[in-house]
Every structure is written in structure tokens, then in C-alpha cells.
Symmetry: C2
Subunit: 366 residues, 2 copies
């Protein structure tokens, strides 16, 4: 792993230098320098029916220095490439926000970013053009990743040496806090039968208190609402490298279905990262609208915004197929939504003694 | 510690039973049952100038069963007390949200909570009347506590046995995730000179990457915006039990000063918990408005809501004294605010090589 990581950093550095070298060659050949990018409008983002993820279409646009605006963008790209290459050289890292502030220290004022949107977008552009993800440029996200709890032993490469941690035996009740770049983690040993991603902290704590991870050899991953990149990345790696089924357990409302969708199929915003972040084989375990009916769960009425979101999900390629159509139409029909913690209305153990075992059995996971 | 915890749970159970016994005695004496509570309106919450925290004043109100509304409230209290006592018996725990849903399973429909506000408020009432904090009823918050990184070895009592964890050597880059109830933690050994609470994840990661905790024997506590109860509680315990100075490092804007205020002096909402959660000796390390001027930091203009918040802080007893008056007036004068990560405009190491050492030296911490 150490050597693999070395390689991905070296590759990142090389790709960055290649980009700068292209500008140089263009100058050298008497051309006006430019950069070619896939067009990043919604109309050029397609749902790949085979791979089940969002990808860019074929259209590209050219960013050329033939206008002041274009020239300034390439100047900023050049400064940013220099900063990133040095950062990799020195084995440092920084956040997107720090990059924005750092540009203030650059000698050429034209190269300063005018706001953080601009620097964020440039990093996305560089990810796309170089085909290197920003973690390999050592750009850390601000948002923290998930907590893990379950029968998994990992080795994490930290900047103060390697750490070997068992995600049940060596951690407190809060679990193992995954680092911002989960590619520093190596999976050493495990006894996991499936990965269970959980939306809310309250439900995550319930599963841990009830010993669900232990009883079912489950790795419990806390999503904490819309999951961070680090969380989606480690989920994908667990699936791909350890060949584990992944299930997603959320509230029963349209926003939670989107959380499932972003774990499974990625999002339009990060279409260039689908291959790296999305787990199309992930399955939705609930709360399903059918459960609201079957278990007579305490509910809230659907708000107008909920109804609109459900209707747009009926059109969303990620929610095509009989299962989602039926469930969403049922939910529009009953006009209700329920939280995962609503299962507590049947007792604190209902979720681990009844609900999840029944659902997971139906789905063929256990 | 194990025996201490036992005691606090037994005490919690006893106090709950006492409350129920009072109702019984009142019935027995032919009285209409009632409960006496401090009046929880703003006018009955005072700033205690000596203790430097918010406390309740002397006014009380009586909650009596002489109306349907009052009787229903006492009924809900009785059911909740029964649930909590059983929970303590069985060494289980639950979240506030679960309690709300659990009430749906109670046989008397009049006892069901109509919304979560009502059940949250009842738990606060029970905390006040019983003088037991809700963690000792085994009510877990939904929100996760802080992450710690620094030279501290702890023992945590988890529901699957004790865990001994060193908060530098036994954790990954993400640090030690404190549990929802930090009173399950015992401090074993430490080499900490001071506790540094940090507002943003980006700055927390910067300090850890730069090895600030190692170089200065600092325990870095991530606040993550407005800090959770667990975070404030562990900060207070570190101060009181290990006799450590506490500093708070935030953005330079009125909302961040409130974050400092809630660590140091508590909040109106949790006035009954000041003694348990507030650390009045905590000091503010920055970003100060003076730093914006001295270091010529990148800024954003103050919005109208910022200006209003600053003006109300000038009236807030927690921000009395020359220091805050000067700083807030300066900020209103320059009309600017700055984030802590804006220090990166002077390089990624400026915060750990220059800014913090200078400030901490001035404050007599190092």
C-alpha cells in the first residue's frame, strides 16, 4: 500500500507537470495556449445505463488565452499547478479553503482567486483534465468522513507513522474516525459479512448499543446526512476490494432516497468521480414507504417540497424500475414520511430484532 | 471511576423514583398532585457575576393537575419516569428522538407526546427538578461530540468492555472520537500543557498536520461549529480535573464569539447545566478584530446580521469588560470579518510558527 500510494502521488505530480508542459509546448510552437475540458453543463452529463453512474458526454470546450478572461484562468491554473506540485514534493496537504487564501500570497495579483467558488472549480477542472483525484493532489476536504464500527482491522498511514486499529476492539463507543483521505487506509483482516451505511447518528448509536455489528458481522458506517467524499470512497473500496455487499439504511423521505442515490450512483456535480466514489451495487434497505403502511409507523405529512422532490425522483434515471416507481407512488398516495428512529415506537430492539433481519433476509443479504 | 459511575446512575434512579413518590404522597394526602419548577422565561435567567455563568433566578412556577392540560403533563412525566427508571435498570440508553417515538407505544394515549419539542422540554424539566443531568438518565444526544488529538491516555467504559486509548499513538489522523457521554471516560495519563478548542475542521486538520499538538503539548479539541454538549463537558472536565488552561480558537466574527461564549459561560437555553458544561476560565485566542488589522488578513465585509449580532454582544454580560468592548467596536469600525483559515494567506505554517505562539505567549499560556 505504501508503495501504491507513492505511485499515485508520483503520478499526480507527473500529470500536473504534463499539464504545465503542454502550455509550454503551445507557446513554443507559436500557438495561443489552451486547455480542453468536457463541457460541464447538465446537457452534457449522461446516465450511463451499463455502469449505472453519471458520466460526462462527448462535448468538450476549449479554454484559450485568446481573451483576457481566458488568459487569466490559465494563469491561475499555472500558479495552482505550481503550488500543488510543491505541496506534493514537500509531502504537505491543504484544504480547498486554504488554497483560496494562499492565492493571496502569490506575487501576480491577476492570479489571485476572486472567491472560493473559483478555486474549487479550478481544482475540479484539474481533476478532470489530469484524471487524478484531488486527494492525490493532497487537497483535503473540510468535511469529516464517517465513523466505522465493525469487525475490521485496518492500517492507516498517518503523518506520524502507521497505525493499526481494529474497528471494534481498539476504539471507543464512538468508533473509528476515518481520515479525510481514506486511501491512506489498508484493509488488513476482517470478518465482515456486509456493510451497513446508516443515515442518522441516533440510529448508528442504536445499532452499536444493540451489538448489531457483532451479532451480524456488519460494518456500520455512519453517513451523517449527505455523505462526505471520504465516506463514499471508503464504502466503494470496501465493496470492490473486499467483495462485500453494501446496504443503505435511511429515513423514509425523498431527501433520504437522494442520500442512497449519491452512495450508489453518484451525483451530477461529481460526475467525473463516479468511478471513484459510486457503488452501483449498493442496495436500499429502508425505510420504505411500504414499511410505513406495514408497521403503522409514526409519520409526518409530506410537505409541498417533499411532493416535488418525489415527483422529480420519478423522472430521475437513478430511480427507474418497478421497485422505486411503486414505492414513490405509494408514498405520494399515502402522503406521509417516516424517520428511521420511528421504529422505536415498537420498542428499542425492534430495529435489530425484527426490522433489519426481516429486510436483509428478503434481500438475500443474510 | 466505574464505581463513581455506578453511583451517579443509582442516584439518577433514586431521584426519579423520588419524584414519582412525591406524586404518590400528594395523592395520599388528598392533595392535587403538582411539581415545582424554576420559571424558565428569559426574565428569570440571570448572569451570575461571581461564577461567570447563566443561572436561574428565584422565581418558580407550579405545574398542577388541577387542569386537563396540567394533568396531562404530569401523566407524561410519570410515564417518562417509568421508562427512564426501567432503562437504567436494564443498563440501556436511548436518544431524545427515540423517547418521543417510544411514547407512541404507551398504553395510555393521553401520555403520547404531540411533538419532539414537548418530550425534549420534559427531559429538561426532569433534569432541573431532579438535579440529575440527562446523560445520567442514559439519554444520548443525537449530535456527535468532538474529536481529540494530543498527549492524553484515557480509559473509556463502553458497552463491550473498557478500552484504553492514547489520543496520539492509538488513533488515526482523524483523532479520538469522544462518546456521547464523556463521563464514561477516565483520564489515565497525560503530558498536556493546555487545551486548544478549534472551531473549524480545516484548522483542526492544519494543527494536526503541522504537529502543533506534539510541539506544544496541546490537546486539540475540534468544536465543529457550535459545540455539542459532549464537547463542552469534556472540555470542562479537562480543565477541572487536570487543572489545564483552556483556549478557544475560532473565526473572527460575532457567531464565533458566541461559540467561545458557549464554551466559557454556557447559554441561556442550558442555564441549568452551566455548572456541568461551562468553563468560565476559558480564554479566547482569536481571530481578534485587531489581528485583521495587524496581519492585514483577507476579509469579508460585515453583513447587516453580523452588525446586529455584534451590537447585541456589546450588551451581553458575557462580553463585558474592556477587551471585548474594544475588539467589537474595532470590528464595527473596520466593517470586516475574517476566517481562521485566512491565516493561510501568509503561508500554511504561519498559524503554528507565528500566530499561535505569539498569542499564547502574550496570554501567558506558553
Amino acid at each position: 500500500m505504501a508503495s501504491e500510494r507513492q505511485t499515485s502521488e508520483e503520478r499526480a505530480r507527473e500529470r500536473l507537470i504534463d499539464l504545465a508542459a503542454e502550455f509550454y509546448d503551445q507557446f513554443d510552437a507559436g500557438e495561443i495556449p489552451y486547455m480542453t475540458l468536457p463541457t460541464r453543463t447538465k446537457s452534457n452529463i449522461e446516465y450511463d445505463e451499463d455502469a449505472n453512474v453519471w458520466v460526462y458526454g462527448d462535448r468538450t470546450s476549449k479554454r484559450s488565452a485568446n481573451s483576457v478572461r481566458g488568459a487569466r484562468k490559465l494563469l491561475k491554473a499555472a500558479y495552482t499547478i505550481e503550488f500543488l506540485a510543491r505541496q506534493l514534493d514537500e509531502d504537505r496537504s491543504s484544504t480547498l479553503r486554504e488554497l483560496y487564501y494562499i492565492s493571496e500570497s502569490w506575487d501576480n495579483e491577476e492570479a489571485h482567486f476572486s472567491d472560493q467558488d473559483e478555486s474549487n472549480k479550478l481544482i475540479e477542472d484539474l481533476e478532470i483534465v489530469s484524471e487524478v483525484k484531488r486527494e492525490d493532489f493532497h487537497m483535503r476536504p473540510e468535511e469529516s468522513g464517517a465513523k466505522l464500527m465493525g469487525p475490521l482491522k485496518i492500517r492507516e498511514q498517518t503523518n506520524r507513522g502507521d497505525r493499526e486499529i481494529h474497528c471494534q476492539l481498539d476504539v471507543g463507543q464512538g468508533g473509528y474516525q476515518i481520515p479525510n483521505n481514506p486511501d491512506t487506509i489498508e484493509f488488513l483482516e476482517h470478518d465482515i459479512d456486509f456493510v451497513m451505511c446508516v443515515e442518522t447518528g441516533g440510529m448508528r448509536d442504536r445499532l452499536v448499543e444493540n451489538g448489531f455489528d457483532d451479532d451480524y458481522n456488519a460494518l456500520v458506517v455512519h453517513l451523517g446526512g449527505q455523505p462526505a467524499r471520504a465516506t463514499r470512497r471508503i464504502t466503494k473500496r470496501l465493496h470492490d476490494e473486499l467483495d462485500l455487499p453494501v446496504v443503505v439504511f435511511t429515513d423514509g423521505d425523498p431527501w433520504s432516497y437522494r442520500i442512497f442515490g449519491s452512495v450508489a450512483y453518484g451525483s451530477i456535480k461529481s460526475a467525473h468521480l463516479s468511478e471513484y466514489l459510486a457503488t452501483p451495487e449498493a442496495k436500499f434497505v429502508g425505510i420504505q414507504p411500504q414499511d410505513i403502511v406495514d408497521y403503522d409507523l409514526p409519520t409526518d405529512p409530506l410537505a409541498d417540497s417533499d411532493i416535488n422532490a418525489l415527483q422529480s425522483e420519478l423522472e430521475d434515471p437513478r430511480f427507474m424500475g418497478d421497485y422505486w416507481t411503486e414505492q414513490i407512488e405509494l408514498q405520494l398516495d399515502i402522503g406521509k414520511k417516516a424517520e428511521q428512529q420511528a421504529l422505536a415506537s415498537r420498542g428499542l430492539d425492534f430495529v435489530t430484532d425484527e426490522y433489519l433481519p426481516t429486510r436483509l433476509d428478503e434481500m438475500g443479504i443474510i
